[in-house]
Each structure stands twice: as structure tokens, then as C-alpha cells.
């Protein structure tokens, strides 16, 4: 039975698309049949993050409006044959699709895949509502910043009001050194504020910039801390018990005093 999981956040720019691409890739690496859907109609991005932008012929709106069959619009990943992308339309807006059409579309995908991951647009309007309407579960991505956490709290309320259960949480772009200095909200702070279950912690990692530049998922990079964190989240989605990566690197006494000069640990 397929699981339809929407990745959303409220605030833009916190890493929804990166999370969708990496979790989709990680789940497919582990043998699942995965469809990732870009529900950000008009602001298509999941295709470039996954390096599939040159292969798009049809998009989500073409399928919904009957110009293409679902099979024709699904783009196979370059490396993983069991991973497919359903791209958003770039020249339309979020009103091009109705909630009923989204439910119909996700139900079609259910029959062919084990996981359907939906990359939600930012905001709380129609696009967001369309992105969650067909979902079984919702994951909220936030960064440890006041604006992102505040918006995440709004989304928790809206997801619960839409009867999608309590969403789970990914805290993205944690900087352990700043947290240790008391200059960044810790994961514990964020959980206490939002009071939802933690699914994953993703450290801030420059490797995300390079992998996104190349259109390759960070989960392929053995040295990427963020990539490893996403792999762990995928395993947790599969029901495995995986401990959280030790982020709070224990600095020595000198390092604590001269933290900013300390060597970075990986």
C-alpha cells in the first residue's frame, strides 16, 4: 500500500525541495518505488534540484487537463529506474488544479509506487492546501529561526484542522557550533515550541550547495553530513529505529573558548 507524504513548511526557502529530492532518492536507493511530485505550480524547482530539467515534456497540469497520460508525464531519474518525477507546470498558477483533481492524481500514483512524496509550495493558500489534500502524512521542514518556527506552528494547526494527523518535524540547517554557543535555537527548543514528533535533524552543510548546483542528490555523497542525515530519515520513514546523528560535537575546553577557530569536525 502506497504512502503519500507531503513535505511542507509555511515559510519559503527552508529546504522543502532539497528534502523531497533527497528523501525520494534515498528511499529509491533502498529499493522502494518512489514518485516525487512538484506541487509548486508556477514555480517549478524540483526538476532542477534533481537534474531532470531537460527531460520534461509534459507536466502535472497536462495530466490533470487530459493532454497527457500520467505515464507520459512521469520522468525517470537518471540513476534510479524506480524513481520518477512528476514536474509542476511552469506557465500556469496554483488555481490551475482543484483539490479533487489532486486527490485523483495522488490516487493514480498510489497504484504504481510505494512512496509518493509531494513537494508543497510555501504559504498557506490554495497551493499548500492542494499539496496536503491527498496526503496520508505530512512532514514539516523548519530551520532554527524565529520566522520559520513561527510559520511551522501555523502549518501544524492547519494540517491538524485538515485532519491529516499531527505532522512530523525535520529541523534543517542546524549549526551545532552556534547552538553550543547559545546563539541558535537547539533542536530541543524547536520541539518544545512546536510539540510535534521529531523525524530528523539535518546539519547545515555546504555540500548541499554543490550537490544542488550539479543537480545530484546529497545522499550520494558519502562525505556529506546532510546527505547522511537524509539517508537516516528515509530509514526512519521505512520504520527502522535509527539514532539521531551526534550533532553536538563535544568541544574541548580550549575549543570552547576559541570555538570559531576550532577545526570543523565531521
Amino acid at each position: 500500500m502506497a504512502r503519500v507524504i507531503t513535505i511542507t513548511s509555511g515559510k519559503g526557502g527552508v529546504g522543502k525541495t532539497t528534502t523531497t529530492a533527497n528523501l525520494g532518492t534515498a528511499l529509491a536507493m533502498r529499493g522502494a518505488r518512489v514518485a516525487v511530485m512538484d506541487a509548486d505550480i508556477g514555480l517549478r524547482n524540483l526538476d532542477v534540484v534533481m537534474g531532470l530539467e531537460n527531460r520534461i515534456v509534459y507536466d502535472l497540469v497536462d495530466v490533470v487537463e487530459g493532454r497527457a497520460r500520467l505515464r507520459q508525464a512521469l520522468i525517470k531519474d537518471k540513476r534510479l529506474p524506480e524513481l520518477c518525477l512528476l514536474p509542476a507546470a511552469q506557465t500556469r498558477d496554483k488555481d490551475a488544479v482543484s483539490p479533487e483533481q489532486m486527490v485523483y492524481l495522488t490516487n493514480q500514483l498510489r497504484t504504481e509506487f510505494d512512496f509518493v512524496l509531494i513537494d508543497s509550495p510555501a504559504g498557506i493558500e490554495g497551493g499548500f492546501r492542494n499539496a496536503i489534500v491527498g496526503a496520508d502524512e505530512v512532514i514539516i521542514v523548519t530551520t532554527p529561526e524565529v520566522s520559520a518556527v513561527r510559520d511551522a506552528d501555523r502549518i501544524v494547526g492547519l494540517v491538524e484542522a485538515a485532519e491529516k494527523g499531527t505532522p512530523s518535524l525535520i529541523v534543517n540547517r542546524i549549526k551545532p557550533r552556534l547552538v553550543n554557543r547559545g546563539e541558535m535555537l537547539s533542536v530541543e527548543d524547536v520541539i518544545e515550541l512546536l510539540a510535534i514528533n521529531l523525524l530528523g535533524i539535518v546539519p547545515d552543510d555546504e555540500a548541499i550547495v554543490t550537490s544542488t548546483n550539479r543537480g545530484e542528490a546529497a545522499v550520494y555523497d558519502q562525505h556529506s553530513l546532510a546527505g547522511r542525515a537524509f539517508l537516516n530519515i528515509a530509514r526512519r520513514l521505512n520504520g527502522e529505529e535509527v539514532p539521531f546523528l551526534p550533532l553536538q560535537d563535544q568541544p574541548g575546553v580550549l575549543e570552547r573558548f576559541f570555538g570559531i577557530f576550532g577545526r570543523r569536525r565531521t
Partner: protein
């Protein structure tokens, strides 16, 4: 904050993470319960008034009200320090 600040347990200013957490607490109370910081201050003053009928040792400035989030319910927690009243 310099490392001397770290050494002697905090400096003149609170760490920004705890400031952020406190501010977020207040904002989330407002967002979810329409309870503005002004109303919260007024609530503290009135709490102090009521309490002072029984305990003459309460100072409204010292009352700290925080929101505790729970899966099913949220809680308001009030911390009310009492001034030592032995001399009175």
C-alpha cells in the same frame, strides 16, 4: 559575547537563542490564542492584585508566565516568586 562571558556564566546580555525562544513563546501564544503581550502583562498585574489579597509578597514584575506545548493540550505556567516576608 567574549569567552570571558562564557567563563563566568553569561554576560550582560542573554544569549540570542534564549531570547529567540522567549520571543517565539510569546508570539505563538498570540498566534494561537489571540493573547497579545500587552494582555499578558495586564493579566500578570491582575494576578498579582488577586494574589496580594492573600499574600502581600507578590510583585507583578516578577511573575513569569510561559506557554508549555503538549501533544493534546497547551498549558500556561505561571511562576510567582514570593518576596521573603519574615520581617513583616
Amino acid at each position: 559575547m567574549g569567552f570571558l562571558g562564557n567563563l563566568f556564566g553569561g554576560g550582560r546580555r542573554d544569549r540570542s537563542a534564549s531570547v529567540a525562544k522567549q520571543r517565539l513563546m510569546m508570539v505563538l501564544v498570540d498566534d494561537r490564542y489571540k493573547l497579545t503581550p500587552d494582555m499578558l502583562e495586564q493579566m500578570k498585574i491582575e494576578m498579582a492584585e488577586v494574589l496580594s489579597r492573600y499574600l502581600p509578597h507578590v510583585d507583578s514584575d516578577q511573575i513569569e508566565v510561559t506557554l508549555l506545548r503538549g501533544e493534546a493540550n497547551d498549558h500556561l505556567k505561571a511562576e510567582i516568586p514570593l518576596k521573603r516576608g519574615r520581617d513583616e
